[in-house]
């Protein structure tokens, strides 16, 4: 399925790019990240533990990076296998745009999940997906913004703004061997500027349309799908794959 999203990060593009290319920062920012190894310049392997409803799985993710146009954009593609939990695979085009001293990260992604992950259903996966995404971007933004905004109090500069914050971000995991990021401050989770034109389809999951929006193609097909009731089937995937895509994006940016 197709997805697109956008995040505003209060840091200049170069900083964001560098941060996204720093395995240590990524490791701190990715929730549940246990390993992050750069296999080559454009290959990365990560082990991320994710609990999605009843499914507690360690995803071994392999990611490759292409079309690198530092510090603007790249294409990522990856696959994560969660053993009995099933699999998740996908790819995304990621773009960093400058907006004054801030950076807007946009991505459009395709992702598929299979096995138990697909079977479990949207209600359980939704929360997990949004939480993981929010955690990563707030962690990441705090770290990046914090680094560049020395001496200034975090709340103004650090973090990212969200029109519809749900849960306060959790502080990044402190890995003893790594530079401790500035003390976390209650900065809200990422902004979610997504068209809500799918809100009819997603009426049952009103929070969905806020974070991701299906691109026109998906909307078109979901309209066609209404009569055979497929749009209920779409939401779970949309959500499960949120996890994947976010994971991939991060990893990929390395």
């Amino acid at each position: 399925m197709d997805m697109a999203g956008e995040y505003r990060i209060k840091a200049p593009r170069q900083k964001v790019w560098e941060g996204l290319n720093d395995p240590e920062i990524l490791k701190q920012a990715i929730p549940g990240c246990e390993e992050l190894d750069k296999v080559s310049d454009d290959e990365l392997e990560a082990k991320v533990r994710a609990k999605i409803g009843p499914v507690n799985a360690k995803f071994a993710g392999k990611v490759t990076l292409s079309n690198i146009k530092a510090p603007e954009s790249y294409t990522i593609s990856g696959e994560g296998r969660g053993g009995a939990a099933g699999f998740a695979k996908g790819g995304a085009n990621v773009q960093l745009d400058e907006d004054g001293d801030e950076t807007v990260l946009r991505y459009d992604a395709k992702a598929d999940v299979g096995g138990k992950l697909a079977q479990i259903g949207s209600r359980l996966v939704q929360g997990s997906a949004k939480k993981i995404a929010d955690q990563f971007f707030s962690n990441f933004a705090r770290i990046v913004a914090g680094e560049e905004a020395e001496g200034e109090s975090a709340p103004e500069k650090a973090g990212i703004v969200d029109a519809k914050a749900e849960a306060p971000p959790t502080p990044p995991k402190k890995a003893p061997s790594e530079p401790t990021p500035p003390e976390p401050t209650p900065s809200p989770p990422p902004v979610s500027e997504a068209s809500s034109s799918d809100s009819a389809d997603l009426a049952a999951n009103s929070s969905v349309s806020n974070m991701f929006s299906a691109p026109p193609t998906a909307r078109g097909s979901s309209v066609a799908a209404r009569d055979n009731f497929m749009d209920w089937g779409r939401n779970p995937l949309l959500w499960i794959s949120a996890i994947v895509v976010v994971g991939i994006i991060l990893a990929l940016i390395v």
Partner: protein
């Protein structure tokens, strides 16, 4: 005379153990030293298996074995067969792809078992299963039967995934009739895919005994002898005489426990490989969603030709049926002989033609689910008749009445191969319309509208063919087995009775119904009768329970066994009473000499038979008789269901306000049990009409794989049912005059509910009629529909 026998609302004797938690189900059974099996299943809808690395799993502590499709092939295990040959229009056999116990080469649906991990603990087996490395090569998948033709090929040598292209009826005659039609009503309908969700998930324990070379299998089965037959004759897990199959208490079947599944074959095979270590497998609920056979999943186009007076001239139907990734045990006959042969319904439509294309897809195999083909036929006819009524502006009940087969026309041969033995369709229609007060519906609609609600009323006149089945008939149609039934009735010295039946009870209450039957036949109290079933070493070879057959076929075998006992008892009584056998009459448990007061109770006769000190010289001792019964015809329960719904225009939520069910089941043994069966069937039917839908995404992933997304009906979704059984037309195919009642509710309810919704909102809405679908229809209209 007998206040517990035939006709009495006797409480179910089995309920004491069920209600008090004393039921003994397969998972309650444990064998000394048993190991636990976990199946590693494909997460892909369609993928080539380039290799399975079992080493890491084998090295896991406590692991006894890791078995794959290669091991099964090496041990010569056969494929799981489909037992009913259906031939295409061109006379060619249906195309059956191999169905191995463990996937070989390719996995064809999400849930397809690829490997079996056996360990000393369940947890150990699950952990080791995580270690298994499978080299997948993903392939494009197809889930939607509408796109199966020309889609990715599920079985490499079966083009277009087409299993068969079958037809019934006279096409030329039908086309000619359509040429003369004044009106043609059309519907295009989807019969939504269902997941059965029996309360007890499947389970199996296989135990091989090296000393005797025999195997014992405990499992959740509706037909233990059929399991033994197929597993020995086709899958080769053990010779038939060395395979002891036991189906203890089973918590619901609804069809899904008829079939021979991979797991139950695998545990018997594995126990033999492990030289006698018992191997246990219990499905969890998530596993049940992706391994128990699914039901329905048809797409149909149907046209009804009428003349100017609303008389049906002809019916023309095309159906595409989804059979899933492999052909399950009886899958081929469900969308053909159990479906198209019922398309006459209760009507005298002179000519009918139906052709059916059955397809493979990358989904869970599809097979019989409560009603099996007959709900699909009933839903199609009855929604089409309502469409016709809307088209020509006639009252749907009257349009039905006009086209009924008249009660003096029986036996009636339909254009689609069946011969209805008896029926009185006006009687059930009139009683149902009276009970629901059809005449004054307009008032009830007005009062609903006064509260801003829409109200609709829907009629469904169903018929089903059950009492499955006359062996010669099904044999001529391709069945690989006969569908007779067996029974043995055994007296002991003290006059107590054991009744052994080849059927199986998994909720239907046979232990009560059969005992009532014997109690009345032989004049012995219920408490002296024990009904035994579900064990291939205790019961005579039988064909099991499905297709509402147990009483009409199995019960008749019991009745015939009782008759043999009575005949033998007359000989003994004649000897003891020094009368001629012809003068002995048996009544209420007593053998008497006609016209005298000389009599012997059946207890005295039984004792004489087991202690034959004074006994006829030419007569065998003992009082134990068995009988087989092969019915001459199907039975044809029929009736009228009327549903009234109220719809909230703001939310699209449909509330079933009333459901009146009037059934003609012929004679009834236990009215309370019959009503319970109808209640369950109605809930099943309401579930399909309003809630249940198994949905696959376009990559073949089941996205309604839990109760979060697959909506089962609950007690607060159904009304207080008004169920009535008319003093009906006794069936002529068995001496009891019974027809069967287990499936009727699920067959008749869906069309009654949907017709009520269509009546409320003025247009057909396909199943399940969710609030969203109904809301969209309402939103697409200018203004709420006024009462017609």
């Amino acid at each position: 005379m007998n206040d517990q026998g035939i006709g009495a609302r006797t409480l179910r004797v089995e309920d004491k153990r069920f209600i008090t938690g004393r039921g003994r189900y397969t998972d309650d059974i444990n064998q000394p030293g048993q190991a636990y099996a976990v199946f590693v299943r494909s997460p892909h809808a369609h993928a080539r298996i380039n290799g399975v690395d079992v080493q890491a799993a084998l090295d896991w502590p406590g692991v006894l074995a890791v078995l794959t499709g290669e091991d099964a092939a090496a041990d010569g295990l056969g494929n799981l067969p489909c037992g009913w040959m259906v031939r295409s229009k061109d006379g060619s056999d249906m195309k059956m792809g191999p169905h191995p116990v463990l996937a070989q080469g390719k996995a064809r649906y999400v849930g397809d078992p690829v490997a079996m991990v056996i360990a000393s603990t369940h947890e150990g087996a699950e952990a080791a299963a995580e270690m298994l490395q499978i080299d997948w090569e993903e392939l494009p998948a197809i889930a939607d039967v509408g796109e199966a033709h020309g889609g990715p090929v599920v079985h490499d040598d079966i083009p277009n995934n087409l299993i068969y292209d079958w037809e019934i009826g006279d096409r030329a005659q039908v086309d000619a009739a359509f040429g003369k039609a004044a009106q043609i009503a059309k519907v295009e309908i989807v019969n939504n895919r269902l997941i059965t969700n029996a309360m007890e998930p499947r389970a199996a324990i296989g135990a091989y005994e090296p000393g005797t070379g025999s195997s014992t299998l405990y499992l959740t089965s509706q037909n233990p002898h059929v399991h033994r037959l197929v597993m020995s004759a086709f899958v080769n897990v053990a010779p038939e005489h060395k395979l002891h199959v036991i189906a203890p208490d089973v918590g619901g079947g609804f069809g899904s426990k008829i079939f021979i599944y991979n797991e139950e074959c695998a545990v018997v095979w594995a126990s033999r490989r492990l030289n006698g270590v018992p191997v246990k497998w219990t499905s969890d609920r998530s596993e049940a969603f992706i391994t128990d056979a699914h039901g329905r999943d048809h797409i149909s186009k149907a046209e009804l030709a009428l003349d100017n007076d609303g008389n049906f001239l002809a019916l023309r139907v095309n159906t595409k049926a989804n059979l899933g990734a492999y052909m399950s045990t009886f899958s081929s006959c469900v969308p053909t002989y159990l479906y198209a042969t019922l398309l006459a319904g209760q009507y005298k439509t002179p000519s009918i033609y139906c052709d059916v294309q059955a397809y493979y897809t990358n989904t869970v195999p599809v097979d019989a689910n409560r009603g099996a083909g007959r709900p699909e036929a009933c839903y199609l006819i009855e929604t089409l008749v309502d469409q016709a009524a809307r088209d020509i502006g006639m009252d749907p009940a009257e349009l039905r009445r006009r086209n009924f087969i008249p009660k003096d026309a029986f036996p009636y041969r339909t254009p689609v191969a069946l011969i209805y033995d008896t029926g009185d369709y006006e009687k059930t229609l009139d009683e149902a319309l009276g009970l629901v007060d059809y005449a004054n519906f307009a008032q009830r609609r007005a009062s609903s509208e006064a509260q801003g609600k829409l109200r609709g009323i829907g009629v469904c006149c169903y018929i089903e063919a059950c009492g499955i089945a006359p062996s010669a008939v099904v044999g001529s149609l391709g069945a690989g087995v006969g569908l007779w039934e067996s029974a043995k009735v055994r007296f002991s010295h003290t006059g107590k009775l054991q009744v052994m039946t080849g059927t199986h009870t998994h909720g239907q209450g046979h232990e009560t119904t059969f005992a009532q039957l014997v109690s009345t036949k032989l004049g012995v109290p219920m408490d002296d009768i024990e009904v035994i079933h579900g064990d291939t070493e205790k019961t005579p070879v039988g064909m099991g329970t499905y297709g509402s057959r147990s009483l009409a076929v199995g019960g008749e075998a019991i009745a015939k066994s009782c008759d043999k006992l009575i005949e033998k008892g007359k000989k003994i009584a004649a000897h003891l009473l020094e009368a001629s056998e012809g003068d002995i009459e048996f009544k209420n448990g007593s053998f008497g000499v006609r016209g005298t007061d000389r009599a012997k109770s059946i207890g005295e006769i039984v004792f004489a038979a087991y202690v034959p000190h004074n006994y006829p010289a030419d007569l065998e001792p003992g009082m134990e008789e068995m009988a087989f019964f092969d019915p001459p015809n199907f039975t044809f329960p029929a009736g009228t269901y009327v549903c009234e719904v109220e719809i909230d225009q703001n939310t699209g939520i449909t509330t079933v306000e009333r459901l009146v069910a009037v059934d003609d089941f012929g004679n009834v043994v236990n009215p309370m049990i019959v009503e319970g069966q109808v209640h369950g069937g109605l809930v099943h039917g309401i579930g399909q009409a309003l809630y249940e839908h198994a949905v696959y995404d376009d990559t073949g992933q089941l996205v309604t794989g839990s109760y979060m997304d697959y909506c089962m009906p609950r007690a607060d979704n159904v009304p207080y049912f008004e169920v009535h059984t008319v003093a009906g037309t006794p069936c002529t195919s068995n001496s009891l005059g019974v027809k069967g009642c287990g499936e009727a509710g699920a067959i008749g309810a869906p069309a009654a509910v949907i017709n009520a919704i269509s009546n409320a909102i003025g247009t057909h809405v396909d199943m399940p009629a969710t609030p969203e679908k109904v809301w969209r229809v309402l939103q697409s209209r200018q203004m709420p529909l006024a009462a017609e």
